[in-house]
Symmetry: C2
Subunit: 479 residues, 2 copies
């Protein structure tokens, strides 16, 4: 019991310390733990189940858009990593090196994949010969490793789980279409499944993927007003195709290099999910990724008929395809309320003698903590409708929060105020020069996030240098 | 087209060279390719889809028996690996070492997990305090790496994909029950899903897992009469619990070490699947793991109504939940027959003008190549029944083949003949001494596989030394 008490002890409030709040939530809900190697995490069942639900729903979208899964090796020869100049510059400083296998020192060191462009390009160069082999649209679900200095579970860890799509195409147009299609798949998934509103656009040259022609990103706003890059899609052009010699014989009889894309999301999404929706009581989970969507609590469960009555409701919900848990542990009702609230279960059903008498269940929804009653006659449909409503409300709430915190700014003072004082995003006009990006970062801690597809025309001068502006850019502090 | 021709060129016959036949089949069907690092493989979509179907159906069985998935880190500190003496002795010679992260040489080298007992035990020691925390039954799907000298895709590769279950229990009995439950889950899965008959029993002390009290295995017979260890379940007793200090406060107020199990199957199952069922034309896949269960070929497809008629049948099969492919490519019918036979698709439907006139489809099943016709009126049900029949027939055929090749032997000459000349398993009585196991291996190349649960009493003397026999043991050459 001592342990259980600790389990539900106070979570630091967001107001007091957002970062500590996050750590408290992920550890106390047993989603994750720290691994023995610095910067690594153990994803515990409650966290991993969310990842499974993310995988399932994303994978269906990948398959529906014509992608197939495959698996490429973990270890990449150093020479492959070094082939594409920008890519190696970007990744070499953060890879882990395998230098010994069994008892032998390796002649050529191997890197643990930080991402798999290089090894996949190597294989594609063997597989592709004619335009008939294109497009080739593969994805893999795997672990990758980046030797990070400063880490936090889910948000940035040395090893993380992700999916990486890698496609090659006969034409530039097709590659660009694929790049855009996938950032839109991510956006739709983030908004409809994770209930996480995102702003989609293109990254600046400074922030784009090492080796890409263009990087598109979806950026979400956390409750502390910081941005989280939640998924990226890259148009790689022919950069990799040229150095890896991925060629095909086109219909016109000419040998050409392919055009390429890559795109990925990771376990970082779980961190985003938490920081967008959860509150001082603990997790708040959107029903579509909640390991448990509804918990049934028999109240005064030793009274005649209660357990049986509650069990029957539980069975009906399960049969209706709802992920439901039946909690018959001996703890007090109050203790259980706290625990399930902390765990973020979207809907709680309390069923006691009075409820059964009245052919009803008492319902509490996690997002608003509103209490109501529902007739048992149509409980399956009512709970499903309620779950849909929670899903939508979470999205609406997050979107409203975000809208309040995006500030159109004209001056550096306003930009600074937007990110520092008002804890939000600054939407500004920008000349497109790296010097201004660097200066804004130096002065405000904000980095360029994306040039939103939905451009706001806020004037014709760069917020930083005052020279003619090229584009509307979103600036924010970020994870 | 040159490439396509190569694609269907002759596969070496099993008779001529079984090993080359296997390589031809896996490469020509594009299930797999060799990775750039020696001993690694790339699992291509057609192979990976089989792994997904295996995962899906096994994972449902794990969840139904009360297990949850989690994810533990890839990298294990050397000190953890070294904690359990037998375990480190078994695995240290075959691990890959990470000695550098980013630009820093690591103070303590890390190993890439060859299996995860040590890191999971480390975490369990933090998580478990009371009998209320037990049993803890976790599984993870992941990649592992063992620095193997001699490799072959799916059967033995440096890196492979697998699942590893790790459970801890309050009592020895419960751990033994779990160990047996999981080997039985594997058996049922192998037989009912992979159509692969297996012999289940306990391993000798020599062959058991490094650190286990007892290892149980399922062994399958390949078409060349060699054995494949297809899945193992280990009772780890308290070996790891003691060195990792995994303790709990029991109901009686006493601190005790937990009892532990682990169990796993890997992408090796795909190799087994191929070597049990396939033939000189290529793959033969059991419907339950076939990426494509039925292919619909419109015959004379430019004749009026053929494409539409065939498409309609295809749509109906898809709607009935059958994994179906519609092949409208411009190649000849003969070319397509060859290709889909090579790919192992269980059922082929040919639909031409005559078929449509007669309201029928011409059907060829891959396992027997029998041709028949089926009415379109009930085509969904007929194809489903046919797929069930193929599934069962493959199992029956493999089992009959195996039964013919298990020889009860009384002498070393008979044992040698059984494995060398008759290419089968030898069932013999054994004294239980390692010296006899070693001698049998030296003389015949056969290793001890399992002491089958279904013991045959073949006499009272050891086949090798003639001393009193303790047990019936299966000997075979193996992969």
């Amino acid at each position: 019991m001592a342990k259980k008490q600790e389990f539900v002890k106070e979570i630091t409030s967001r107001e007091e310390n957002f970062s500590q709040w996050y750590t408290d939530v992920i550890l106390k809900t047993q989603m994750v733990d720290y691994g023995p190697v610095k910067g690594t995490m153990v994803i515990r069942p409650y966290g991993y189940r969310i990842w499974e639900l993310i995988q399932e729903q994303l994978d269906a979208r990948f398959k529906a858009t014509g992608h197939q899964n495959a698996y490429f090796p973990l270890l990449i020869p150093e020479a492959l990593l070094r082939k594409e100049a920008e890519h190696v510059e970007g990744f070499a400083p953060e890879v882990a090196w395998v230098t010994k296998g069994g008892n032998e020192v390796l002649a050529e060191p191997l890197v643990i994949r930080p991402t798999s462009e290089t090894i996949i390009c190597e294989m594609y160069s063997h597989w592709v010969q004619s335009w008939r082999d294109l497009p080739l649209k593969l994805n893999q679900w795997c672990n990758v490793l980046r030797w990070e200095k400063s880490t936090r579970p889910f948000l940035r860890t040395s090893e993380f789980l992700w999916q990486e799509g890698h496609t090659i195409h006969a034409t530039e147009e097709e590659a660009q279409e694929e790049t855009m299609q996938m950032i839109n798949v991510y956006r739709e998934f983030a908004e409809n499944v994770l209930a996480m509103p995102v702003i989609v656009g293109q990254k600046s040259e400074k922030e784009r993927f090492a080796g890409a022609v263009a990087t598109y990103s979806m950026e979400a706003m956390m409750q502390d007003g910081q941005a989280l890059q939640a998924g990226t899609s890259h148009n790689l052009g022919q950069h990799f195709a040229k150095v890896f010699d991925i060629k095909f014989l086109d219909k016109d009889g000419v040998q050409k290099n392919v055009y390429q894309t890559s795109w990925g999301v990771s376990t970082r999404l779980i961190g985003g999910l938490i920081m967008v929706h959860s509150d001082d009581r603990g997790l708040v989970l959107p029903p579509k990724v909640a390991p448990i969507q509804a918990v049934v609590l028999p109240i005064a469960m030793h009274k005649e008929g209660v357990l049986e009555g509650a069990q029957a409701v539980c069975d009906r919900l399960k049969a209706a395809g709802i992920r439901v848990e039946f909690d018959t542990r001996e703890q007090s009702a109050g203790w259980k309320f706290n625990e399930w609230e902390m765990k973020g279960v979207p809907v709680r059903l309390e069923i006691g003698p009075r409820d059964l008498e009245n052919n009803q269940a008492t319902i509490v929804r996690r997002d608003t903590l509103e209490k109501t009653t529902l007739s048992l006659d149509t409980i399956e449909d009512s709970i499903k409708a309620l779950l849909d409503d929670v899903q939508q409300s979470l999205f609406d709430r997050a979107k409203a929060r975000r809208e309040e915190r995006i500030f159109a700014v004209q001056t550096m003072e306003e930009l600074q105020e937007a990110v520092e004082t008002k804890h939000g995003f600054a939407s500004a006009m920008w000349c497109g020069e790296r010097a201004c990006e660097d200066r804004i970062k130096e002065l405000t801690g904000a980095t360029s996030r994306v040039m939103p597809f939905e451009q706001q025309l806020l004037g014709d001068r760069c917020v930083c240098c005052g020279k003619p502006a090229k584009v509307n850019m979103l600036f924010a502090r970020s994870y």
